[in-house]
Structure formats: C-alpha cells, structure tokens
C-alpha cells in the first residue's frame, strides 16, 4: 500500500532520516518505536508530506507522492493523521471539527456528514459532546475526537504521531481503546508510540528506528522476546 524507497530528510545540517526502505501492506498495524531524536515522527510526517523528503520516493497505491506533479491534497484525503497535541480547531464545535473537511471538499453533503459524525461520536461514546467546543473537553476526549475527525474522511490508512504522549496517565487507556478497536476493524495503521504494551498487543510489525534508519524490525512477539541489535536491547531494557 505504501512503499518507501531510500527516504532521506535533512533539516539544514541535521540529517534526520538516512535512507529508509519499507513497505506497508494493507491491513498492517506498523508500530514505530525507538529513542527520541531517532527520526520516528519525521518518518511518519514524511508519509503524508507534512515534511517534504530531501530525497527518496514514497509510493502510495502506485502513485509517487513525492513527484511535484502529484496532487498531495487528494492523497491526504485518504491518509488520516492524529497528532500528539490533538490540534482540534478551537473555534469550531466538535460537530464542525468533524464535518468541516468532508463537506468543504464535497465528499458528503451536510446531512450525510452529520449522520457520519453522529455515528462516529457514538462509536467513541462522545455523542453528548457534538455541540460543545474543544476547550470544554479533557485531553483524552480531545484525542478521541481527533481520531474521529480523521475517520470522517474514510481514509485508507491512519497515521498516529505519539497520540498518547501529551495525555495524563489515566486518559491514555481510553485513547488506546479507540485505537485498538480501529485496529480490529481492519484499518491500516502506522503508529509512533512509546506504549510498549500497545505495540506488543496490537502491532503486526514493529519498526525500531535509531539515528535515522530502521535498525531492526520484526513481529512483536519476536521483537520483544529476541531483540537482535545491541541498541535495541539497550532501548528495551530502559523502557520495559
């Protein structure tokens, strides 16, 4: 579904990604872990071109999205993204947050979007918040809404950039529950996270990134039981 070929990204002199190669298949739940500064978030943000790669290719459903001729807005409609800081639109009600893009882009009319919004809110048990503003929500609620906002576009793949890292500990669970349910529904997911329990339980493949490359990858079971690289062992000994 997504093929990444020799992806490099530099910020000035800072060479953050040093040649990433990977293929993400439909239905996979790829969990990206690794020490901070290793390029996890940059890699994820390159997948929908929030960061423009310095070189390399990203092929999404047969289309090279790094080609300047590619209409990235059309590609992004099919790639949902959830941010660490939620980034809900504070001046809009929850309903408007969710329906803005589908209606604006002409994918649904108002009624269809409202119906989809109600259905999604019910799924995350936040129906009563439809007309509230983001400012009145807790962190966990905000992130569940942010997930729902992306889902309203009916994306083919969902990208999660440390979705629980800025949450109070007691709110992490409710967000992971939503993600777990999403995984069960068959969604293709790429998740950057520090939640090792989630990685082990939900992931179908673990990518360990360090210093701008994928140092090691494996199934969760193998990865956590028999890490091969020295860096991986060291990392796991610190976080587990």
């Amino acid at each position: 579904m997504i093929t990444v070929v020799d992806l490099h990204k530099s910020f000035g002199d800072n060479h953050v990604l040093r040649g990433i190669n990977d293929t993400i298949e439909q239905g996979e739940k790829v969990v990206v872990i690794g020490p901070s500064g290793g390029g996890k978030s940059t890699f994820l943000r390159c997948l929908n071109l929030l960061e423009r790669p310095t070189s390399g290719q990203i092929i999404f459903d047969g289309e090279d999205i790094t080609d300047p001729k590619c209409n990235i807005n059309l590609v992004r409609r099919r790639m949902g993204m959830v941010f660490q800081n939620f980034n809900l639109f504070p001046h809009l009600t929850i309903r408007k947050n969710i329906t803005l893009a589908p209606v604006k882009l002409g994918l649904m009319n108002r009624e269809e979007a409202d119906a989809r919004c109600d259905e999604l809110l019910k799924r995350v048990s936040l129906s009563q918040k439809a007309e509230a503003y983001p400012g009145s929500l807790s962190g966990g609620q905000k992130q569940r809404i942010a997930i729902v906002r992306s889902l309203a576009m009916n994306p083919d793949v969902m990208l999660f950039d440390e979705p629980t890292s800025s949450l109070d500990p007691e709110m992490v669970g409710e967000v992971l529950d939503v993600m777990r349910e999403l995984a069960l529904s068959g969604m293709t997911m790429v998740v950057v996270t520090h939640e090792m329990g989630f990685a082990r339980e939900v992931g179908t493949r673990i990518l360990f990134m360090d210093r701008g490359i994928i140092l090691e990858q494996n199934t969760p079971k193998e990865f956590f039981a028999n890490p091969k690289e020295e860096r991986t062992k060291e990392f796991l000994s610190k976080v587990l």
Binding site: R76, L100, Y133, S150
Partner: protein, 243 residues
C-alpha cells in the same frame, strides 16, 4: 472666563447661545453634512484598509512559508516597501500628495481621501493581521492540511477566524485611530465634521461651542464603534466557554 465656567455655561445658562451658534442661519446643516462626510470617509477607508491589510499580510505569511517562490518574493518586496513608506510618512503629507500630485487632475475629493486613508490604514492593519496569523499554532495548519484541505481553505476556515478573534481589540484600535484621522480631510477642502466645526467658529466668533460639539460627536462615534467591537468580541469568544 475660565474653562470650567464655560463648561457650566455650555450645559446650563448658555442654552440659548448654543442654539443660536449651532442653529442660526442653518449652521447645523454644516454639522450634519460634515458628519455625513466623516462617516462616509471612515466607512470606506476601513473597508479598503481591511482588504489591503489582509492581502498584504497573506503575501508576507505566504512568502515566509515558501521563500523559494519568485512571484511571492517580488510581491513581498512590494508589500514591505508599501508598509515602510506609508508608516514612515505623515498622513497629511500623503493626503496632499494624493490630491495635488497623484490625482491632480481629479476633483473627486471624497474618492481621493478614501483612497489615502484606506491605503494608509492598510499598512497598519497588515502588521496587526500578520501578528494574528503567526500567533495561531502551526499545528492548526498541519491538521487542516492533513485532512486534505487546500492551503487556501485552511487559511480561510481555520487560521484566519482564529487570528481575527485574537486581533479584534487591536483592529478596533486601528479603526478608532482611522476615524479620527479623517479629521485632516479639511486639508484638501473637504467639509468633514472637523471642518464644519471650524467654519462655524469662523462665522460666529465662538470657538468653544462648535468645537466641543464636534469633539462630542467624534466621541459618540468612537464609543459606538467600541461597543460594536466588544459585541463582536463576545460573539467570537463563544468557543472559550468551558462547560
């Protein structure tokens, strides 16, 4: 007679004097027509200033996001020059230049004044707008773009509404300044409110009554605008309610 007794006179004993100064020989029509000119100038200058200011701010923000674009670079240079020139020269001088140099052949003073004040205000509005846009967290833009919204839609639906909410007090400030700035329209022989007051002073040899009257009218206009801005502020602050 000192100023306090004049004030007391203004509000009490001198009533008949006030009537004769302001209403004798149809002089109140000067005030009414002057008020019309002042309101006309203010209204259209605010609109032109807002439009120019927004466009200039968007150019500057767009250039920062895409420093490689040649078109934006050229536009940004023009925009910067515009802001510097307008802010660096007195409004009266700008008005005189517009009247006697740029539009020397035109006799449409209202149009000349509206353009001058609008162009003048645009420079200040653009800086206020730019600050407002930059103050909106970049994550908002990223969230909009990641949903597939275009740069334009993201700016219009997500960034600008939040920016405007934040800069409303500063914008109100700018519009108040602008309304009062139109009082120099008399320099190009426009009979605005200030000029009307001055003409009555001239005709009646009475300075206090017409000038204080004019000052009070400006005060009422500005207070009205202040009220309007704070109403708008309250409406936009709806999303701040934490239930």
């Amino acid at each position: 007679m000192n100023i306090f007794s004049r004030i007391i006179e203004f509000f009490s004993g001198g009533f008949s004097r006030i009537v004769s100064v302001l209403f004798g020989r149809g002089r109140w029509m000067l005030i009414v027509n002057g008020l019309k000119v002042t309101l006309l100038l203010s209204f259209f200058s605010v609109i032109i200033g807002t439009v120019i200011g927004t466009v200039v701010a968007l150019i500057k923000v767009a250039y920062v996001n895409r420093p490689k674009s040649k078109v934006l670079k050229a536009l940004n240079t023009v925009a910067t020059l515009y802001v510097n020139v307008v802010r660096g020269t007195p409004t009266v001088v700008q008005l005189l230049i517009m009247n006697f140099v740029v539009f020397a052949s035109s006799s449409n003073m209202i149009l000349i004044a509206v353009l001058t004040f609008g162009i003048n205000s645009g420079a200040y509005v653009s800086e206020v707008m730019r600050a407002g846009i930059n103050a909106v967290d970049y994550g908002q833009t990223e969230a909009g773009r990641s949903l597939g919204l275009s740069e334009y839609d993201t700016m219009k639906e997500i960034v600008l509404p939040q920016a405007i909410k934040n800069i409303l007090p500063a914008l109100g400030n700018e519009f108040i300044t602008l309304i009062k700035e139109t009082s120099i329209a008399g320099y190009i022989a426009l009979q605005d409110l200030t000029k009307a007051g001055d003409l009555i002073r001239f005709a009646t040899y009475e300075a206090f009554i017409p000038l204080i009257t004019v000052a009070l009218i400006y005060l009422v206009i500005v207070l009205g605008l202040t009220k309007l801005v704070s109403m708008l502020e309250r409406r936009l602050a709806k999303s701040d309610n934490r239930r």
